[in-house]
Structure formats: structure tokens, C-alpha cells
Amino acid sequence: MALITDNTRSEVTEIVYDFFADECEVDKSRITDQTNIIRDLDGDSLMFLELIEIFKKKYSLDIELKTIGKYAVKHPVETIGQLIDMQMLIIEHENRILELA
């Protein structure tokens, strides 16, 4: 399980913002927590998958993709802020995230 520190949220936020700015070829300053990933950034599910892989490697997470998928069905993510919130839960709870649902 990854150690959550005061810096973890800002680290995750930085990675998410940089990722979408790069992938969607938009200026990072245009992205906010309220930005809609599909509507505003033309994002897709493969991007979401790629981001999860980045976090799995960075924090050595023990979580199956389908577990995240099951959680996401009940807690759909639309905005950058919601994605960051979910990512924090994944880092904190890993495969036990479903117990939160």
C-alpha cells in the first residue's frame, strides 16, 4: 500500500494536469478541476487507462483494472477534479476500493 503524505494530492494533481495538457494538446493553464474530460478535452477511455497505469507504476499499486472499472460504474468520473479524487482513493485503498462503494 502506498504511503499517503501531504504532498501526495499535489503530486497526483500535477501528474493529471500535465498528462491531459500533453495528451489533449491544450495549454495547462486552461485546465481546472471543473474541466470536463470528454466534453472539454475530447478525452477518451484509453487516456484514463493510461493514467491509471502511470499511477500503478509510480506508487507500486496492487489493484486490478477491472476493480477500478467496477468502482467507476458506481462512481462515474466526468471532471478532472473527480478523477483526482478517485485516484487518491485508489492510491489509498487499492483493491479494497470496492469496499467503499
Binding site: 477511455s45 484509453l46 484514463f48 487507462l49 493510461e50 483494472l65 477491472k66 476493480t67 472499472g69 467496477k70
Partner: protein, 301 residues
């Protein structure tokens, strides 16, 4: 440092033209228009009215296939003219026709006729019911096995990467499979915009009829090797190619393995010769030391 090997890869269909930056490549529009006119004279007069900015023909299965083909042929021609020479070619599903044209095995016109005949034959299958294809992202083949066991007529016809697969079958079966897949934790599921169960056993009789046409064509030896997405072997002879064309309609393929094969052959630069960037996006999930680009970016370097 220049890449050690280059592969041109050709997609099958078009979803939209939003990502298409080819129109900004010098010479692209002129060559594309010339091929459009040749195609409109031979197979479909409507093709000469195509305008990417208007997102034409996206709801017309055969025309989008023609456009992807013409785009692929144009992209490969322009890349070569600008000094980018491929060592290998490969066609994703129906992208094989553009790969064979660029490899010198069939003429541009014969490629069009092959596409038209294949589509005509397989269209008869769709008269017997509602069929289609579906994509699932986020589950492995292993995750899907218990679901597919309940739907024996649905086939896993392609694996794009470890977490992305394509299915073919009857539409109502596919819709049920997608529902179960979502419950199982799939990130994304969708019916593809096709009415044909490509690469499934349902097309076997159509493929045999298509073979009658294929074996009348003057197919030459390839000047550039084409990697089969069905077997991952390298195609050489006209016999290899004819067999591949027929089996490509009803046999499963594996894009993941085809790309891995090209990587083993030393390919470190893949260029997606088509209007989208689906293969480029998919490549993020196939590990290895390589880059995947669209023609505009490859020429900009």
C-alpha cells in the same frame, strides 16, 4: 539517431476526421484528389464529392472503407516521396488492401475492386440478421472468458492490446456481452459502426465466394514485405497474398501480436497511414522501444 526500421501500418475504417492533419502536408491534397477521382470513375461516383471537413460518408460502411484506403495509399506515397522508406507494411483488418498496393502486389484500381467485391459478398450475410462488432477496453481476454462462454456465437476476433479486444457476432448477443462486461469492470464498451461481423466464422461462405474473384486477379510478388495480422508471418508470393485476402474475411486476427512481431524485426518507427490515430493511441499499451506517429508528425521531424 535515425530509426533502425520503419513500418507503415494501414487502418481499416474511419471514425471521424478530427485528428486528420494530413491536409496540411504539401502535396497530400492533390494526390488524394487524383485518387478520389480515379476511384469515383471505377467504383462509386459519389466519392469525388468527398470533403473531410464535412465529415462525409461516416455512416456509409463501404465508402468509409474506400476513403481509409485512398487515404492510406496517399499517405504512403507522400511519405516515400519525402524520403521515408518503410521496411515493413501491415494492414489492420481491411487495411490490408492499402498495404498490398504500397507493397506493389496489386494496383490501386485492383485494390478498389477487391474492396468492393469483398463487401458485396459479405453484405449477403447481413441479410440473414443483424450483426456487428463491439469493442471492450479495460478487461483482459481472461476476464472475458466466463462471459463469452455464455455466448458461443460471439467471437473474440481481435486483440488490440492486453486490455482492449474486439468482438464479432449477432448484434443482440453483442449488446448482452457488453452489458456483462460493464458489470465485470470494463472501462469502456461500444458497438462499432459496422453491420458486418468481420473476421468471424459467419463470413466463411462469403469468403469462399470472394475467393472466386481473388483468384482471377493479377496479383504480383511483394516488393516490400507485408506482415500478416492473421498469422504474423511475412507475406511474399501471390499465393500467400490470395490466401491472406480470403482468410482475412473470416479468421480472427491479432494486432497486438502483429505489432510485437514488427518490433522483433527491428521496427522502431511505426507510421499510421490513415486519417485517424487509433493505432497510435492503441500503441501506448504495447510495451517496447519504439515510436508511433501519424504522417504529419513523422514528416515534421
Amino acid at each position: 539517431m535515425p530509426p533502425s526500421r520503419i513500418a507503415f501500418v494501414f487502418p481499416a475504417f474511419v471514425r471521424d476526421y478530427q485528428d486528420d492533419r494530413s491536409l496540411s502536408i504539401p502535396g497530400f491534397t492533390q494526390h488524394f484528389s487524383e485518387l478520389l477521382i480515379r476511384a469515383s470513375h471505377l467504383v462509386d461516383p459519389e466519392l469525388c464529392f468527398f470533403d473531410a471537413r464535412e465529415q462525409n460518408f461516416l455512416d456509409h460502411e463501404l465508402r468509409t472503407q474506400y476513403i481509409a484506403y485512398i487515404h492510406g495509399c496517399t499517405s504512403a506515397f507522400i511519405l516515400e516521396a519525402q524520403g521515408l522508406h518503410p521496411h515493413y507494411l501491415s494492414g489492420y483488418s481491411m487495411g490490408i488492401y492499402a498495404a498490398l498496393v504500397h507493397g506493389g502486389a496489386v494496383t490501386f484500381e485492383d485494390g478498389l475492386l477487391l474492396i468492393r467485391h469483398a463487401f458485396q459478398e459479405i453484405s449477403y450475410t447481413t441479410l440473414t440478421g443483424r450483426f456487428g462488432m463491439a469493442g471492450i477496453v479495460g478487461l483482459t481476454e481472461q476476464d472475458l472468458s466466463p462471459i463469452l462462454a455464455r455466448f458461443p456465437e460471439v467471437e473474440l476476433t481481435n486483440q488490440n492490446s492486453a486490455y482492449s479486444v474486439v468482438l464479432s457476432g449477432r448484434q443482440h448477443h453483442l449488446e448482452q456481452v457488453l452489458e456483462f462486461a460493464r458489470e465485470e469492470g470494463a472501462f469502456h464498451t461500444r458497438m462499432l459502426n459496422v453491420t458486418v461481423p468481420y473476421h468471424s466464422h459467419l463470413l466463411k461462405s462469403a469468403a469462399l465466394e470472394f475467393a472466386r474473384f481473388v483468384y482471377t486477379r493479377d496479383i504480383k510478388c511483394l516488393k516490400l514485405p507485408v506482415v500478416s495480422v492473421l498469422t504474423q508471418q511475412i507475406l511474399h508470393s501471390p499465393e500467400d497474398i490470395k490466401t491472406e485476402l480470403v482468410e482475412n474475411l473470416y479468421k480472427h486476427f491479432n494486432w497486438l501480436k502483429a505489432q510485437e512481431k514488427m518490433q522483433k524485426l527491428g521496427v522502431s518507427l511505426f507510421i499510421e497511414c490513415g486519417p485517424g490515430r487509433n493505432l497510435t493511441k492503441n500503441a501506448r499499451f504495447i510495451p517496447g522501444e519504439y515510436v508511433f506517429k501519424i504522417p504529419f508528425d513523422a514528416l515534421a521531424d
